[in-house]
């Protein structure tokens, strides 16, 4: 494997791991459910997508043709993440979860 390919792979893997960590940090540290929903649904999806692209590039360089399994997982994750986030938000609105004063938006209209 050439050195610049290794550089690209290292960059993608490190970016993916850092974004995954930031997403979970948001899940653990933010104050109410509506803000907590943002971390895992955006940062974690981007992080895992980046890791999967890195894996795709790595296995395409092994000499067995282009590896497309990862693209399948990436597509599936990118389609399902907004759907599950929407359902979670609806469940939270249905249960009338408390929110902090700083969380804006007229959430009482929904559900």
């Amino acid at each position: 494997m050439s050195s610049w390919m290794e550089l690209i792979l290292s960059f993608l893997i490190l970016t993916g791991a850092i974004f995954t960590f930031i997403g979970s940090l948001g899940l653990a540290r933010l104050r109410d459910f509506y803000t907590r929903l943002h971390g895992p649904t955006k940062a974690t999806t981007l992080g895992v997508g980046s890791l999967l692209v890195a894996s795709s590039i790595y296995f395409s360089n092994q000499g067995q043709g282009i590896s497309l399994h990862e693209i399948l997982i990436t597509l599936f994750l990118f389609i399902t993440a907004p759907v599950s986030a929407h359902l979670l938000a609806k469940a939270a609105l249905h249960q009338k979860l408390p929110r902090t004063k700083e969380t804006r938006g007229n959430t009482d209209e929904g559900a």
Partner: protein, 89 residues
């Protein structure tokens, strides 16, 4: 360079899993716990992909794909239960 980066990535994703477990145990409401479980399965996919790169084998993709499918179905079922009081009406 990859031999240096992959352990760092493993450590970061493992720390993310630990934070998810903390939220899963702590979480004041049930949507919080469902969100923690949802994030856990996505992070498990990340761990499996990293393990595949580390070991140089493409054996783990089928497992990752299955986890992605089943995790999504589980999240949707739990949310439907909270919303409607039933999963299949």
């Amino acid at each position: 360079m990859l031999t240096l980066v992959i352990p760092v990535a493993f450590a970061l994703v493992a720390a993310a899993v630990a934070l998810n477990f903390w939220r899963l145990l702590q979480g004041p409401s049930s949507p919080d716990r469902i969100l923690a479980l949802d994030t856990l399965y996505v992070n498990t996919i990340a761990l499996l992909v990293l393990l595949g790169i580390h070991l140089g084998t493409s054996l783990y993709f089928e497992a990752a794909l299955l986890i992605a499918l089943m995790g999504f179905v589980g999240t949707v079922a739990l949310c439907k239960y909270l919303l409607r009081g039933d999963i299949i009406e």
